[in-house]
Each structure stands twice: as structure tokens, then as C-alpha cells.
Amino acid sequence: MATEAALGGDALALALGAALASRLDGSVWRSWCLLGEDAVDDGRLWEVATAAREARADMLTVLGAGTAAAALWHACGWTVHTAPAGDPAWLLGALDHAVAAGPAVVLATADG
């Protein structure tokens, strides 16, 4: 299923909730959250990111645009991977690493 939210915090909250639902199902499916570059401007995004770390939401992965907030993701306890958006092989490799240890974020960079 897919859904959307106007703000980054709302989107990540929904994705975190879905990841918790996945845990109740035996962690057999994964919750993905796709965030635009402006999503990091929403302060509640970091509330949810911290809550996700404390909840050990392993079935949650974020794919974000831009690396400007990489330090904030780190500070919230997330594993951060970066990959050039224009290189599908590299991007898929980063996503493979991200799903191995969650919660994790893959930040796609414009260069490269």
C-alpha cells in the first residue's frame, strides 16, 4: 500500500507506525518513507526519527533527497548511506545496506 502526507514529520510518523505494524506481523514486510529535500525543515520529522530509533524500528527505511541533513539523521541514531541519484546500481547497493540495519536512511545526492 502507499499513502502520502504534506509534511515530512507526518510522512515519517505514518511510516514508523506501519513499521510497528509489520513487527506485529512478524517483520515480514518493510515500510519505506520517501522524503523530498524540504522534508527536513519540519521539526517533527526529528521527533519521529528519534522515536523510531528508540523503538528499534528495523523495518523502516527512508529514502531522502540531498545530504544537507545527514548529520541530523546521525544525531538521531540512524544509519546513513549516501548514493548518487543518477547511478541506479550504486543507489540499489545503498538500499541493500540500509535494509540490513534499520532504521536507516539512504540520501540520494544530485552529483556523481
Binding site: M1, T3, A5, G9, D10, A13, L14, A15, L16, G17, A18, A19, L20, A21, S22, R23, L24, D25, S31, R44, E47, V48, A51, E54, A55
Partner: protein, 241 residues
């Protein structure tokens, strides 16, 4: 915690996720009854996480001490509070407010309540009611209390809201509730402090039934008065700041 929160956990069904803040006074059994417990800071964030759980096909309950407007949350939302002030605000903001008198009432009431709904666990004697959260707005004592409760129903609700806005400018903290939900004594916690009743011709009956035994009551009947007359009568009771 007492049987009310345990009954709430049973009524929600298993498994479910509980999303709370750092503190959840009176909710221990509810949290312990959950399959997963998550702590998140803001009520809007908690409600969003719970919406995601429901999106994933499972039940979730959010412990709150304040709520956003009903139109801004997932329509399937179920929140739980021990705050009478939260319940009063939720009723004004479009939530269904369910306040059971005993644990056995919780399941049927939740089944019947439209969502989003707030389950109030404040009336039972085994649940501590926390003190109201401090408000950033200065609240001036008015008569023997600091809170005016406006009560209305039907077409009078719009007037009640306008009156609330006028009273707020005079430093009076206002709780506004729909007349129809104040039908029995256990709903009394929805109103507090100095009660300012603004209702129809049956306002006096509401008082005579003993629902407000410990508080001074100013009854301003709506019947036969113009809006200007009513506003004038209410504001005359409240000194200007």
C-alpha cells in the same frame, strides 16, 4: 492501575500498539496490555504514528493530554486521556468523547462511538486526574474560579464559540461543551471551575438535577433574548481586564 485502563485494553483488542508520551499517569494497565509500546513527544506525532499502525492493519491507541482538531487527524483515530480539560477541548473540536462510568461500559461505548474518538478515563475513582497543564495565556481569577464553561447545543453553539472568543480577551480560560453530552453526573469533569451556563430554557433543570453541586452557577437563559442582550449579560458577569 485500575480496572478502567485494563478494560480499555481489553476493549481495544489484541494485538494493539500503544503510543504515549514520557508519562502516562493512570494508564499502566493499558500500556502493559499493548503488544508494542512506543514513546513519542508530541500528541500530533503520536496520532500520526498510530495512523500508520492502522494503515499497516493493526489497532493502535494514543495516550494524549491534548488533541488537534478532529478534521486534522486520521478519521479512525482512538485516543485515551485522563484529562477532563482535554476531553472538553476534544468535544469542541469535533471528536466523539466517550466517558465510561465503569469498565464493562467501555467496549459497547467504543463500538458505538464515531471516530475519531477520545476515551476519557477520568471519572473512575481508581484513576488519578492530573492537574491541568499550565497555559501560556495568563489566567485571571474570576469569582471563585478561573474557568468559565459555556454550555450550548444546536444553533447556540456558534454563539457559544463567539462568546468564548470574547471571554478569552478578558483573561478567562474557557471550556466550551455541547449541551447534549452533559446528561449525567459523570460528565461533570468535562466542565470545571466557575460554571457559566449559557443554554436554553432547561438550564435551570440541569442545575436542579444536582450536576453542579459545588460550583457557583450563573445561568443566562437564551430564550427570548437577542444575541446582543445575551452577550451583554454574559460580559457583565466578567469584569473587564
Amino acid at each position: 492501575m485500575g480496572e478502567m485502563a485494563a478494560a480499555a485494553a481489553a476493549a481495544i483488542g489484541h494485538p494493539f500498539v500503544a503510543v504515549t508520551g514520557r508519562r502516562w499517569p493512570g494508564m499502566q494497565s493499558l500500556v502493559e496490555g499493548a503488544s508494542l509500546h512506543l514513546i513519542a513527544p508530541g500528541p500530533t506525532t503520536r496520532l500520526g504514528i498510530a495512523a500508520g499502525v492502522r494503515l499497516g492493519g493493526h489497532a493502535a491507541v494514543t495516550v494524549v493530554d491534548r488533541v488537534p482538531r478532529a478534521a486534522e487527524v486520521d478519521p479512525g483515530c482512538l485516543a485515551v486521556t485522563t484529562s477532563a480539560h482535554c476531553a472538553a477541548a476534544a468535544a469542541l473540536d469535533g471528536w466523539s468523547v466517550v466517558q465510561p462510568w465503569r469498565g464493562a461500559d467501555i467496549a459497547p461505548l467504543l463500538d458505538a462511538a464515531a471516530r475519531p474518538a477520545v476515551l476519557v478515563l477520568a471519572a473512575a475513582t481508581d484513576v488519578d486526574v492530573p492537574a491541568p497543564a499550565p497555559t501560556p495565556r495568563p489566567v485571571r481569577d474570576w469569582a471563585d474560579g478561573h474557568l468559565a464553561t459555556l454550555i450550548a447545543s444546536g444553533p447556540a453553539v456558534a454563539l457559544m464559540v463567539r462568546l468564548s472568543q470574547r471571554l478569552l480577551t478578558r483573561g478567562v480560560e474557557v471550556a466550551a461543551v455541547e449541551r447534549a453530552i452533559l446528561t449525567s453526573p459523570q460528565h461533570a469533569p468535562l466542565a470545571g471551575g466557575t460554571h457559566l451556563l449559557v443554554a436554553g430554557a432547561d438550564t435551570g433543570a440541569l442545575v436542579r438535577q444536582g450536576h453542579w453541586p459545588d460550583s457557583p452557577v450563573h445561568a443566562v437563559p437564551l430564550s427570548g433574548a437577542t444575541e446582543a442582550d445575551l452577550v451583554g449579560a454574559v460580559l457583565a458577569l466578567v469584569p473587564a481586564a
